[in-house]
């Protein structure tokens, strides 16, 4: 393959696609009008003749939202209940609420793992847990979205955080950011204590490569609640 073409198209150029000819129907040779008597050879089509699908089609598919669109993103992951409330404001309108914005969040589970393709790359049709702890909501007239999830765990090198991606109603990215958790005594973070991991080796916000330069605390949330009744997180995130 030409080097230029390969560089331009990359690996995808190797995977040329074409539609499978599964719908070729068998074609009988036309019986000539004067061959109505005797044992004529009617023939049965070409060597590549295959049966066309002949079943009642349906039920007709209906438009379906992305599997991300749901309030409860827990998907059976165990952990302390956490309600995440994000309010989106527009800086260009003095931080007035932005309605109709699409907000995606995602975070790791209690062990510090994200949902992603496993080693074998096959997904089972246990659809309900494939994209665990990932979700999407659209802001209401108050610029608010709410998710029901679990308090995140942590992994090596990072403070506990929730990823956020805010888009406008047409899907254009407005902001990609992360939410930080308060750490002081009495904080939810210390109450959860890293689940079964504990906090040994934990990276606190001041050492975290994303949060350490957040002097104004724009990425810092407020968290209330307790382990018995669940926690509630709130944050205002502003977009241009």
């Amino acid at each position: 393959m030409e080097r230029k073409l390969f560089l331009k198209q990359g690996f995808a150029a190797l995977g040329m696609t074409f539609i499978a000819p599964l719908a070729n129907s068998c074609k009988k040779n036309d019986i000539a009008a004067d061959e109505t008597t005797g044992g004529s050879d009617t023939g049965s089509g070409s060597d590549t003749c295959t049966v066309a699908p002949t079943e009642t089609e349906g039920p007709f598919p209906t438009k379906n939202p992305s599997a991300y669109e749901r309030k409860d993103i827990t998907d059976g992951r165990s952990g302390y209940k956490l309600t995440v409330n994000i309010t989106v404001g527009q800086v260009s309108k003095s931080c007035a609420a932005l309605a109709g914005a699409i907000v995606d969040i995602w975070h790791c589970d209690a062990e510090g793992n994200y949902s992603e393709y496993g080693g074998t790359q096959m997904q089972s049709t246990n659809y309900s847990s494939v994209h665990f702890l990932r979700g999407r909501q659209t802001t209401d007239s108050n610029g608010l979205v709410t998710f029901t999830t679990i308090f995140p765990g942590w992994y090596q090198g990072r403070a506990t955080h929730i990823h956020v991606h805010i888009y406008n109603a047409s899907g254009t990215s407005l902001k990609v950011t992360q939410i930080a958790f308060p750490e002081g005594s009495g904080s939810a973070l210390l109450a959860v204590n890293g689940y079964s991991k504990g906090m040994s080796g934990y990276t606190y916000n001041a050492s975290d490569n994303i949060f350490s330069d957040d002097k104004d605390g724009v990425e810092m949330s407020t968290v209330t609640g307790d382990k018995t009744n669940g926690f509630s997180l709130a944050i205002q995130l502003n977009v241009p």
């Binding site: 198209q9 990359g10 690996f11 499978a20 992603e116 096959m122 049709t125 990215s173």
Partner: protein, 173 residues
């Protein structure tokens, strides 16, 4: 011929030429999801195609997984039956419980370039014998006793795995 247990894989390609309603819905929604998710890896808007992203941003390989969410609810609508693959009397006969979604290529500006594949892995089948070009298959274990299908392997269908079974029913690996 000793019985073999096989799984088939059908790689269903969906692109701009796909005609069926279900395919068109998957095509539209996965392109939209690609445009949304790829922004994570393309924050300076330097790249316009999936192939460019793969080349320059290794982490964008995650897009196969991230975009799959747009297809999942449509795959659910199939009711665990692999579409398009029919036996010799024109009926779909394979069920699946595993699949793999992949992006073949895509382009932020040209929908015609968007192309995805859903790999459907069939539940295990007994391959009893081969008659001419046809495999004589039946659902393994849970299938209705005695019911078989004659199937001629089509393009985009592969024998994904194979296990040989000894006459006494034990699996030979």
């Amino acid at each position: 011929m000793e019985t073999r247990i096989v799984t088939l894989c059908y790689r269903k390609i969906i692109d701009a030429r796909s005609q069926k309603e279900w395919e068109k819905l998957v095509f539209e929604d996965t392109w939209k999801e690609f445009k949304m998710q790829s922004q994570l890896f393309n924050q300076e808007s330097r790249y316009t195609t999936f192939s460019q992203l793969l080349l320059h941003v290794p982490a964008s390989e995650k897009l196969h997984f991230l975009v799959s969410a747009a297809a999942v609810n449509y795959i659910k609508q199939l009711g665990n039956k692999i579409p398009d693959v029919v036996n010799n009397i024109g009926k779909t006969f394979l069920s699946f419980s595993k699949f793999y979604f992949e992006i073949i290529n895509s382009d932020l500006q040209h929908k015609s370039v968007h192309s995805i594949a859903i790999n459907f892995y069939s539940d295990p089948l007994r391959w009893h014998e081969t008659i001419g070009d046809y495999l004589l298959l039946s659902a393994d274990a849970d299938g209705i006793e005695g019911q078989t299908s004659l199937y001629k392997i089509q393009p985009f269908v592969n024998i994904h795995s194979l296990q040989k079974e000894q006459n006494d029913g034990a699996i030979k690996r």
